[in-house]
Symmetry: C2
Subunit: 198 residues, 2 copies
Amino acid sequence: MTETGLREAKRRATAHALAEAAFDLAVERGVDGFTIDDVAARAGYSRRTFANHFSCKEEAITGLAVERLREGLETMPEVPEDTPLLDWLMALARHQLSGGMLPLLQQLRHLAVDHHGLEPYLADVQLQIRRTAQDAVSARAGSNVSRLSSHILVGAAYGALMAVLDGRVPIRHPGDTSEGLTVDEFLTTVFTHLRRGF
Amino acid sequence: MTETGLREAKRRATAHALAEAAFDLAVERGVDGFTIDDVAARAGYSRRTFANHFSCKEEAITGLAVERLREGLETMPEVPEDTPLLDWLMALARHQLSGGMLPLLQQLRHLAVDHHGLEPYLADVQLQIRRTAQDAVSARAGSNVSRLSSHILVGAAYGALMAVLDGRVPIRHPGDTSEGLTVDEFLTTVFTHLRRGF
DNA sequence: CACATCATTGCCCAATGGGCAATATTTCCC
DNA sequence: GGGAAATATTGCCCATTGGGCAATGATGTG
């Protein structure tokens, strides 16, 4: 499934360097305060190579988040086969959010405020998050849960995450001002909600 | 809130003409089988005017769906003040899906298969659908429903819709082959599910 | 080691985005 | 109604971008 060779590792390293350069430049100068050439130069690659990895600036800027999503899947620890689906989904959510994914997404949303052109690519990241969770759930659910209801379940959890990203539910990060729930409290609240139903 | 003057009407007309031209060309020739100049020419406007309305081809192609979403909101019929939130959300969903929105979204997804660059813009449309529903629900829910749970509810309904768009749940259109549920049966199933909880 | 595969790069050019200014139309206010 | 302000359309122009092609070098396979 997943490539493991040296070649693939180098490819990922290149993509990472480019994505990081793009993200940093976006934070420093704003999304339209730099060109693709600037990104390539900072990362130490040619503009042509940039085009081999990303279709545009915006895709590169969101690249770190996509990367982290994929890595989160690869490093997801094993859980007992008979773990209830809801518990497992909560574990997946906790694992994904533990690696600084949330602040990253929030910063991307902040960038999107000033540069509307980033929105679609951020929307795509969010879509990939939902799809990733959906695929994982579908694969694990088997025939225990009907197809449609698993989509409803994932959508519900996704909706809660979006509430955070849209700033409707404040979250308190480790070294943050003391407003809102911690990530763990948030997850507990959400999944308690899901368990009890509407 | 919504502009109603002649100027705004004309502006919408040009945007519609451009979006329609872009969508039709995409269906006829594929997403990369034409240029922005082609779109402008077919709609009878200049390339420069196209740029005043859309940032790129992809945004124009999905323009019809965004338009329809906005119109759906504007034409949403009034319902009694004391209608339960779930019933109201179902009415909103039915109203939005009644205007041929579903086939349009499905065709866009079909286009995105061959042209990956369309994905982010389609993802953005889907994000706007969820946000639109969320804003409407939040505005109507008032303090009846806690903030977070309304997001979970909308997310759940959204997840069901995505199951359809992802082709996981077949839907039968009026003059279609007889496989899957009708839109009404689908909505009934979903909202029965939501009512009963997990 | 020989060969196939693939990432990086330069070269090149069509396509794109976006600023600026001119013109035409709509809106606003008197 | 009439004049002024706002704004949609357009042409002009050029920096930026996307992507094909071929050369080169690194990686994987037998």
